[in-house]
Symmetry: C2
């Protein structure tokens, strides 16, 4: 029989344990295309199912989805990460600092609980050794910037410089990190002071965007991360390559966080390096 794509497909029956993937639009969802082939290859009867839920429905829809008899939990993405944290009765330490979560589940007592793994993805992909005891620059203090800053602090970064065009937003994030016992300060996007630097803004999604920072200013051996997904090798990453920096791209961050997300949902955990980047979507 002809197959519509080269991917092995997720099985789906009444026995399949589902992970709801909530966000809108669903077009660019990547986790189903990474995890479902792995489930199929491993004989794990589970599937990540994209559900394109809009903001008006999300606050009632999320708790109902978690109560479905065959659902293990949910991956939460744009534009619901902050709303999800507000709906959770309990938040993990990263989600508490970020005020956002990207994985939710029902606890044994029926309460919604959530955690934020976006930052862990960057730390895992970079390697703890690349950030512990070092100074880092995080440009963008929104949801993903907060997640990355919190995970960097948790991983032992010595000093974090937070930069945002909205200075108040950067100050608020620094205050939340400081309140959680970590060291963070607000500053300009000056890469010269940093041993690693992360773009946590959308800059690089559109042609002609300015650089969030100049990777050529980083000291030798520094590392550059870029959260921008689906744009291929961004101008920032190409400049980092030219400057001789190690890099972590958005897809690597996503791949690196998925094992922790699966563990949080009670699913088997793939060994590091097992999950594969998906082929480009058939659009």
């Amino acid at each position: 029989m002809p197959q519509p794509t080269a991917l092995p497909h997720a099985p789906l029956s009444g026995l399949t344990r589902l992970v709801a993937h909530l966000g809108v639009p669903t077009r660019s969802f990547t986790a189903p295309r990474i995890l479902n082939p792995w489930f199929a290859a491993e004989g794990i009867d589970a599937a990540v199912v994209p559900l394109g839920c809009g903001p008006a429905d999300f606050p009632t829809f999320l708790p109902q989805v978690l109560r479905l008899s065959n659902v293990l939990g949910a991956l939460v993405t744009m534009p619901h990460k902050a709303t999800a944290a507000g709906l959770a009765a309990r938040l993990g330490p990263m989600a508490a600092v970020c005020g956002a979560c990207n994985v939710v589940r029902l606890s044994a007592d029926g309460a919604v609980e959530g955690e934020m793994f976006d930052g862990a993805g960057f730390v895992h992909a970079a390697g703890t050794g690349a950030v512990a005891g070092r100074t880092g620059l995080v440009v963008g203090a929104g949801g993903v910037g907060a997640a990355i800053a919190a995970a960097l602090a948790d991983a032992g970064a010595a000093r974090l410089i937070l930069s945002d065009v909205d200075a108040a937003r950067a100050r608020a994030l620094a205050a939340r990190l400081t309140a959680a016992g970590w060291r963070a300060e607000v500053g300009p996007p000056n890469a010269a002071a940093a041993q690693f630097a992360v773009n946590a803004t959308p800059l690089g999604m559109a042609a002609g965007d300015p650089m969030p920072f100049d990777p050529a200013a980083l000291p030798p051996g520094a590392l550059v991360g870029d959260v921008v997904l689906g744009a291929g090798r961004t101008p920032l990453l190409r400049a980092a390559d030219a400057a001789g920096c190690a890099t972590v791209d958005g897809e690597e961050m996503l791949l690196a966080q998925l094992p922790a997300c699966l563990a949080y949902l009670g699913l088997p955990v793939p060994p590091p390096g097992t999950l594969r980047r998906p082929p480009p979507p058939d659009v």
Copy 2:
């Protein structure tokens, strides 16, 4: 890579159009295991996704599911068929007589609309020629019995005898059919008067159940239908075989209704005989 089952699997990405399959428990759901392999074989990027929704959530969950950006509609099964009809702003002719529907969709103006295809499945599987102009016995005047009786009347059955241990329920169904312009009467489960007879009760699911009617009493060339699913060849069907009757089993009724359900949801329609019975579940 090893495959967990012999079935081709449904693709699942953010571009996949979903058909929600709502009911609880999901364990015995059959439609995903029939339709998803066909979608995969045909290269149709669609999937039937079982969602184990309980009765308390269903009235709010169903409209939200229909509003998801990537959902085409829903198949509705136990215990929600009557509730779904109550939630629909518009019902098709079969659903209106039954007070229940098993497929729902959002109309172009955003209203929930539903229809009941359970009866059409029996008529299609039996063949219109086996019922038009003939006298039939339907035992069981609940949801599925009502659906079958309405579809039989619509297909031109000359006379329908409705039988139920709850005589008031049978009378109420006869009254609804009569009000819709069809001919139906209440009577004992006497197969001798009928040219076809259908079991629309759960009798046959449990070992030791009495027969809903005696197929040996039917005239030569008569047809026996049995809605009981998942019990293999029921005692009624084995007795019908022994009496030389043609038969239609529950799985044939399900297979035969699916093309009409897909058309209602705007999906491609498999030619008759294309859909296959699924293998037994891996339990």
